[in-house]
Structures are given as structure tokens and as C-alpha cells.
Symmetry: D2
Subunit: 349 residues, 4 copies
């Protein structure tokens, strides 16, 4: 059973129990009036206001299912509880994430480990010698992370050897947490309990990858495999199952692209579906390098993925803008008329 | 057999045969003196010079294998031939890429389709109606892209139904191109011929994904699946097989993270390997949002992934910096003493 | 006497009285708990929290005078009232600004003109034909701006022909506003009434420049001139007059550099003064191009300008971060023990 | 007479004579074919190509005068000789710059001082103790810079006490260099010899400011003053004197705004002139914060300042893009038919 490693005195100077990253609780701060006022300003304050209002529109639209895409080192930075609250209050129906957020950060904390406030101005060679990993201005214990890797391996070892979508594997991780009475406030467990699918399209690109290759390398005979095509097929089925959809994107990367693509995927499977009706994105990425992360939602419209009526990008680092937009959505109360979608129940059939 | 769709007159105004993106040929421009002079300047010119020299160092180091990671919309922007030349001249041993670059762009052009010079100042709704997709200032024909999707489906249909790594699937795409006498100057075919593995860790997040779900949705019985864990295991095996390694990163994203991770992956499999000895990255991403793409190579050192002695980030959009750095490497001639590594031969055993 | 021009019907479509930019009122939103929570997060939320706390420290430090530097199109975006409130509540002792903010935006609104919410996706040629000027997503009436230019000319014509610092000229503009019963809530008038100096080191680079060249071009004999050296001397005198100083910087540019320089200026005049003890900056500028705007406050420390103990940069667009940091300072109440500094009284002697 | 200070041994470790920044010589590298090839690519390579071609167009247009605006720490980074070559070869008619570039960097080197290659990863407190100033990854000797300050004071002391435009003062600095046989390859001296005006609209915001306040603080009676309104009037006169104009902008800031403004200034003086017909800008600034530096040239068009037909922004750090664009212009030979404009002769009348 995983447990926090005993840390050396030197290590404790960096991983200080007084310096634990704490997750912000949007329920505590009614930001509505502040965000309303931003709507009469300009530049990114106005964009943040508009994105907040589009999110409320999504929540109010009874025919609309909501995808949340997550990229960037968000949970190590204190944004985990926002997602937990969104799940608990039916403010999201499906999650598409990078592996680091879900495994290295969420599952990691579910095991009882912590992220520590640090600084980018540090000698990384010293950190390495101490087995401390740095994420910009946060520190984690690499030894804790290895426990996380091995827990994934353990779960893989316990499963029927066959292909799994990342969603199915993460569902099993949720089940494991319940069984082992861990991670009560983790995203993986809460989503499991609420039947919300979590897709990690590049599932090996994180702590899970380490666990899985440990499994595949050491197990004789048939192995657990992760079928990334099945991920896409399952996500497409959620779109097929929805009348309208909206996307709330934090950062870009694979989660942004993957989720936008499902509209076209429906068409490839022979079913014409509406484009994503609503789309908002928080990002600092620039469009001028032609990369996907910073590409405008208007550009996505040329691909037939996103409608241009209700789309808004907000140019801001996520730790500042996400609490405001999600907080606005929460305090609007618009989610109160939404019900559980439990896509997992459909996908698991 | 795929073929360019007949385009409407209106469509031809946007997809003009006089406006085809042409790939730059680094062999033609000896940039060495220019880049040498940059070494006595400051800021990014100096960084570009240092990165170029580190690349030459990698090429000269006989014990060093070289990974190239690709993210961003690089081949649609005219950078494909650089990679082809790097492959042909043993300037790279393994490639890790986003799916869009390899499938939507490289395989797409291998099928005879083109990218067109366009503009970001256009009405995306008009483009969508014409089935024209925009990537910043380039246009492609969505109908051509559908042919690309379906060619992947066709290849999947023709394969033994079992789990494949993305590398294995892309190898089959290379084989298909040879057999169908297509894509002579594509990266996928050239890499296939040179035994160079191409990994796409988020393989469903691109045109391949559309082809694969078409396959899985329509085929009865056992299906082709894409095992992303196998990808990571295979990439790790290439590291296990190498005395020293260097990484040449264009952009960040999953390819950057995935490739840095193999050092730790070796450790997880119980084999201690040196960190990547050399590492250079071209990126416009910023470190201040804590995201992986802009995270410094020093930060990667805290994770035990990259040595700090020979690492250099260059803050530049790739279409400007990649031709200069790769061109410097090419004209140095340092690759002349390198041999084919043919990792595919080892991995296919 | 200036007055809003009658606008054509076509023009009114863009300059819509329902779409006037309104200035945010930080007094209404007690953001303390929200910003406190950010202190246990990471990345820019943590930085924003630390900057807020440093600002409170400045306010509490009885020996500390506070400079506010302003760059970027801040007042057209709804940030004017924050500065007015800072002035009224003794939360700032001196202001250093770009000309556009003070003249084209603050004095402009003092004359009764408005900024209008617009969009960056518009045909600028149409705007030009209508004499509408665009600032990203805001619009103003160029004809109104010409009235602003000419009012400056009128003020210049009324003054004794001699060299003025920008501070002296702006003080005269404040006096003019009082006399003409205009701009009750403008920064220029409020600062005038509170004896707070406003320096615009590049004073001709704005609407004032147009007024001044109109004056110099048309007046016979001696003319009003703007002595930029006197500006620097006067600003240096405020530093000489202070025990400790702190800087609150919004954006970079000339105001940032000019204000940091006064420490060295004291030394050049033969008086050794402490560096700026506190320094915070909100900016999206990047340090990697070597430019001043994005240069770190640590770099400023090498120049002997800023102490490194209490400095913090916040990577955020100003319309989002400035209300939070200034609001935190306001609701802290730490300004209640501060008194008027009235540097103008000293400088006017 | 100024001379390099004797440096301590410790100081020489940072200010190493083997590590002097050397200015790139665009005459040596014929980049035309490389830049031509970029024209068939996409993203910033294509933009760089287009900007280069617009510059050639300016050079070929016999009715067109060319302004060069300079912002950012350009000359400390090795870009000075490009400007010298542009001046010598009639590739520019007027220069508008920040003070730091012209005084702290150009005049500083004219006095025999140097910039040294350094690193941003250094303890700035140690640098300060050694009186070494850091500009990102370059170092200079603060003691040398003080000599530069005092040389400006000396020049001010020697002049007739009256208002000067920055251009007039800088012309005197050029005269001083000739007389003192210094700075043969400086921009200030070369421009002086070629009759090219240099405007520094925020002239006190640099080493000149220190010299000028030393002058004003210590001189009894009448003083030299710097009339920033005269700057604007003189620059406007150069526009009045030109049939067509083009702007080549490196960075943004005051020089960009000031130069764009002259079109409107002509109108204010009652003379209708064409907008700037050509405009190119190299910048990394972003438009999304509404700031001037990153504002698009299309936005400038709404203000009636820049025509939209031949404008192009290039998103690149200047040390990489400026040698390519200016080099393209140089090797095009298009300047060979241009003559000296000698605006100074007109302005000095």
C-alpha cells in the first residue's frame, strides 16, 4: 500500500509541510459582481466576462452537454478543487485531460502525496540529487511519484489483460480508490462516482506510462494494453449521444484538439451532428506560430468544429482566470437544473 | 485509390495552384558563417548559435543517438524537407511527433495533396462552407483530408487485428507508400526505408484517429488497436539500446515530454541510464504558466531527464529558426561519420 | 469650449452610447479572501498574491513613498477609476505615465468624451473613413480627439512662454479643468487637487504633442517648450525627498525605466539614496528579447535600482490583475494611516 | 577625456575581453536565396519574406523616404553595424530611437567602451556590488556608463543655454565625436556625417538624462533644456518634406508611436499628407493586451497613419530577424539609386 516516503532533513527544507499547495475553493468567493463589472471594460477583462457568460449559457441550455479540457500543470497549482466542484454540481459532463494532470497530480494527491510551494530560482542539480522534481515554482517528491507509478502498475496487474481505453483504465483507478478508501476529494474518484468519463488521449505520456511499461515489461503472457483509438471512438459516442455540446478549455494541446475533432468524427461515422455550439478557452498561447494551442476558435470553425456565435478566448494564465470563470458559473446557480449525464453508464454497456 | 478531388471554381480561388507551400531545402543555403556570427551577439541570436553548435556536438559524438521531437503545424508550413534530409543523411535516429504533422500533413502530401498559402484574415464561415480548413495562414482541402482519413482506415482494415504501437502502424503506412509507389519524399516513407522509428504518442488525435474509428466502428470481430503503452516501452528500448542520447525539439507538447521521460522509464525498468546528454528546443512558449511546452531544460534536469551542460532553448518561431539550426548541422558535415541506426530492426524483432 | 461633435448615423453604429467603457470601482468588490487563497496556489496566482502583499507592505511602511507607473492603453480599458481612488485615498504619491493614458484618455474623458466597446475584427479602412480610431477592441471618435489636441494648444497659448516640465504642464491642465468645471473624476484633476505630480517623460508622444506643435508652429515669438530634462530632475528630487520608496508598475516602457533610474540619478547628483525598497510589476512582456519592459526586477537590481527582497512580477494582462492587486490594497485599509505627500508643493517652490 | 576604467580582477571575470559582443556585418552574408525560399513557406518565415520585399519596395520607390524606429536593447546585442551600414548606403533617411540604444549603447561604444557576453543566470546582487549592469545575457561596466553620463554633461555644459530638440543635441554629440576623433563606426557619428536626423522622443530616459540633470543641477543661470515638442515638430517637418514615406520598425514603444503620429501631425498643421505607404515591424509583443507595441499595423490604419497595402509584422526576436530583413535589403542593391536626403540640413536652417 503506498505511503509517503520518509524524507531526509535536507529534503524537508524544500518539501516543507508549511508550504503545501492548497486548492482554491470557488464556492467561498462570489465573484459575480466583479466579473459583471469586467463586462464594461475592454481587453481581457471583457473577454473573461464574455467567456463567463457563455459558460452560464451552456449550463442553462438543457440540450447542451459540457466537455472540460485540461492542459498545463493545473492541479499542482491549486486548481483541482474547482474541477471537483464542477463534477459534484453537474457543471461538466465529460473531461479530457493530459496525463500529468490526472495521474501525476490528481491520482498522486489521492494517494496522500502533496505538491509544495517552491521557487523557479533554484539549482536544479541540487533538486535532482535530492530526488525533488520541479514544476516551475512547485516541488514534488520524486520518490512519492514512483509510488504513484507503481500503483498504476499494480492496478494494471490486477486487470483482465485486454485493450482498454484510457477512460476505462481511469474508471478502474476510480474504483481502486473507492476500494482502498483513498482520494475522497480527487477528480478521478469523484468522476467515477458521478459516472463522468475522463479521457487522456496520450495516456502513456505521464506517470501511468511508467506503471504500464512496468506491467508490460514484467508480466508474462497477455498484457493490458491502452487502445487510443477506442478513446476517440468512445468520446465520439458521447457526442453522438448529445443534442448540443459546449467546450470549456483550459490550455490547449491534445485535449483541445481531440475534443474539437469529435464533430468531424461523427461525420466520418456517417452521422451529421451540429458543431460545438459553445466554446471558451483560457490560454496564453499565441496564434502566430500556427500551433494548435493558440489557434483561434474561429479557425476551428473553418474545420467545421466550433460555431462562431458563442466562442471566446481569454488570454490569461489559468490560475487567475479559471477561478473567476468557474466561480461565476458556480455562483450563477445555473447548474441547479442540470442532471447527472453518467456517460460512463452508456459507454460501459 | 486516393486522388485529388475535383475542386469547384470558388474553391480554387482559395486553393490556388500558384500558391502551394514549398518546403525549404537547407542543402541549398550554407548558413554557417551567418550562424557563426550570431555567436558573438546576444539574446536569441546567441542562443540559436549555441543550439546549432550543440546539435553539431551531438552529430560528432559517436556514442550519441539523436531524437527529433516535432510539435506545431510544422510540415504545413514548409519544414518537411528538412526532416527528410535529416533522415537521409543520418542526422537523426528516432522521431517523436504529433499526429497532425505525420498523418494530416506528411502522409497527406504523400498521397499527392497540397498545402496552400492563405491568410488568417478571412471569413472562416465561408471556408467551412467550401470545406476548406485553415491552419493560421495556410489552407487545405477538407475533402482531400477525408481521403487521407479513409486511407488510414483502409490500411487498418488490411492489417492483422491486434494491438500495434503507433510506430508499428506508421511503419505499415511506410510500407503501404512503397507498395503503392507514393510519397517518395515523405518523412514516413523515407524513415521506413531507413529503419527509423516514428512515434506518435497521441496517435488518435489526428487524421489517423478518424481512420481508426472508422475501422473499429465498421469491422466485425477483432479489431486493430493502438497500444500507447507499447509506444512508450518501445521508445524506452531505444534509450536502453543507446550509450548517450541527445534531443532536438521543435515545439513542446507531448513529444517533448514523452521523449524526456524515457530516462526515468529506464530506471523504472531497473536499468540506470545517463540523462539525455544534449538537448535543444525551439519554442515560443513561456515558462511562466508552468506548462510543459515552455518549461526550461534546467527544470527537466531536476526530474533527472536532461543534463544541464549542453542544453539550450531558442525563443523563436520554428519556421525561422529550424532552417538555420538544421542547416548549420547539415553544412557542418558532422553527420558524414554517422551510420544508420535502424532502430526499427531491433524493435521489430 | 470643447464639446462632443455631432456624430453621423453610420458613426453611431460603432460609437454606441449603450457600449461605453465603464471604469471598474475596486471599492465595491472586497477581493481580499480570494487573493489570500491565491497565496497557497502556484504560478501567477501566487505571484499576484505576493505582489498584493508587497503593495500592502508599501502602504504600511511609514517611511515609504509610492510611485505608480502606467503604460499600455489602460484608461481606455476601464482602469481609470482605480487610479482616481488610489489618489483620493493616499495610496500613491507620484505618477509616471505614457502620454496616451494621461492626455488621449484621461484628459479626453475629462472633456466629456468617451471610449466605446468595439471589436478587433473590423475593417480598419471603414473606421478610418468614419474617423474612428481603434485601440484593440475599443473605439474612439478621432474628431473628439482633435478637440483634445486643440485644448492642449489652447492651454499652451495661455501660458507664459518658457520651458516647462511635463509635470508643470499637466498641473496647468489640472488647473484648467478646475477653472472650466470639467473632469471632476479625472486623474489629472484629482491629482492636481491632491498635489500629486504626474510625469510624462515622452510628453510629445501623444495628443499633447499635437497641441504643442500647433502652438509652436502658429505662435510668433517665444514659445512654450517642454523640458524633458527638468522632468527627470524633478522626479529625482522626489526621491531625494523620500526615506524609502516603492514602485507599483503597470506595464513597462519609458515610465518603468524612468522611475527605476531615479536611484542612480540621486547618486549622479552626489546623494546616496537607498534603492527602491519595494517593486511590483504587472506585465505580459517576455524577458527573452532583452527588452526593458519584460526585464526582471532582479536585473534592475544589478543596476542598483531595485532591492530584491520585496519585488514581484505578475504575468497577467492588466485589466484582470490590476483590479485585484489594487483592490487588495484598498480593502486592506493600510492607506488609512498615510497622509498626503503633496510633492507638487515642494516641486513648485 | 573619458577612458576605460581599470577593472578589478573579480570584475574582469565577468567583463572578459574574450567575450565582447561583436556586431553582425550583413554585407558578408547574402541571405537573398534563403529569404526568397521563405516566401513559399508559411507563418513567420513567410511574413519575414514579405517584410523583406516591402523594404526593397521602399528602397526602390524614388518618392519614398524611410524612417527607422529602434526600441529594445538592440545595440548591446550586436545589431549596431546593421544601422551603420543602412546609414552609409542611404538605406534610411531618419532614425527614431529610445535613449538607451543611442546613448547608453551607441555613444557608449563610441567612447571606446564595450558590451560583454554574459548570462541571465547570475546573482544580480554580486553584479551590483561589482558595479556591473546586466541586460538579459549581456554585462556592462556601470563605471564606464558613468563616464558616458558625464560626457553628456560636459557636452551640455559647452552648449549655448537654450532649448534643443533631442535631434539637435544628438547632432552636437556627433560633432563632438568628430572633433574628439572618436566613434568612427558609431551610429551617432555616421548619421551626423550623412546629415541624417536622430530623434529620441524620451531623451531624458537614458544616460543622457543623467548628464543633463547633472548639468541643470550644477550650472548657475540659464541652462540647456530639451524641448520634446520641438522634436515632434521637426519630425513632422520631415514628413511634410516627403512625397511618400515608409517605416521600418524594430520593436515598438515610443519610437513606433511617435513616427506613426506624424501623418496626423501634418493634418493638425493644416497640410494633408498621405499615410505612411509602407510599414514593417519586427516584434514579439502581443496585440491582446491592447498595448501600442504589439498593436497591428491594420489598427494604425484606422487612425489614418499607415496604409494597409504594404504593411507586414514579423513575430520574431530582433537579433534573428533584423539581420535577415536588412541583409535582404542590402544585397538587393535597391539602395544604389537612392541619394542622401540630409534632412538635418533642412531642419538646421
Amino acid at each position: 500500500m503506498p505511503q509517503t516516503n520518509k524524507k531526509s532533513k535536507k529534503k524537508l527544507e524544500y518539501l516543507n509541510s508549511q508550504q503545501i499547495v492548497k486548492h482554491i475553493d470557488i464556492k467561498k468567493y462570489d465573484v459575480r459582481k466583479l466579473v459583471d463589472a469586467m463586462g464594461d471594460m475592454a481587453f481581457q477583462a471583457k473577454n473573461l466576462n464574455r467567456a463567463s457568460n457563455i459558460y452560464v449559457k451552456m449550463l442553462k441550455d438543457k440540450s447542451c452537454k459540457i466537455y472540460l479540457t485540461l492542459a498545463g500543470s493545473l492541479f499542482s497549482a491549486g486548481l483541482k478543487n474547482i474541477v471537483v466542484d464542477m463534477i459534484k454540481n453537474n457543471m461538466v459532463d465529460g473531461i479530457i485531460s493530459t496525463g500529468a494532470i490526472m495521474i501525476d497530480q490528481d491520482f498522486f494527491e489521492a494517494l496522500g502525496f502533496k505538491h509544495f510551494k517552491g521557487t523557479p530560482r533554484v539549482d536544479d542539480n541540487i533538486l535532482r540529487d535530492l530526488m525533488i522534481d520541479r514544476i516551475y515554482d512547485t516541488f514534488i517528491d520524486e520518490e512519492d511519484l514512483r509510488v504513484c507509478d507503481m500503483t498504476v502498475a499494480e492496478i494494471a496487474n490486477s486487470l483482465e489483460p485486454q485493450p482498454y481505453s484510457s477512460r476505462e483504465f481511469i474508471r478502474e483507478m476510480g474504483k481502486w480508490l473507492v476500494k482502498n478508501k483513498k482520494g475522497k476529494n480527487s477528480v478521478i474518484r469523484t468522476a467515477y462516482e458521478k459516472g463522468i468519463p475522463i479521457f487522456v488521449p496520450a495516456f502513456s505520456d505521464c506517470s501511468a506510462g511508467f506503471g504500464l511499461i512496468h506491467h508490460q515489461f514484467n508480466i508474462k503472457g497477455n498484457k493490458v494494453t491502452i487502445d487510443s483509438a477506442k478513446d476517440f471512438l468512445e468520446l465520439t459516442k458521447t457526442k453522438l449521444n448529445s443534442k448540443q455540446t459546449g467546450i470549456f478549455m483550459i490550455g490547449g494541446g491534445v485535449p483541445k484538439n481531440f475534443t474539437q475533432d469529435v464533430v468531424v468524427a461523427c461525420d466520418v461515422l456517417g452521422v451529421e451532428k451540429d458543431m460545438h455550439k459553445y466554446a471558451i478557452q483560457i490560454t496564453v498561447a499565441d496564434e502566430r506560430d500556427g500551433g494548435l494551442s493558440g489557434s483561434t476558435l474561429k479557425e476551428a470553425s473553418s474545420w467545421g468544429k466550433v460555431e462562431t456565435t458563442f466562442e471566446q478566448m481569454v488570454y490569461s494564465e489559468a490560475t487567475i482566470a479559471f477561478p473567476l470563470i468557474a466561480g461565476y458559473g458556480y455562483h450563477s446557480g445555473a447548474w441547479k437544473n442540470r442532471k447527472e449525464t453518467r456517460w460512463n453508464d452508456i459507454l460501459d454497456k
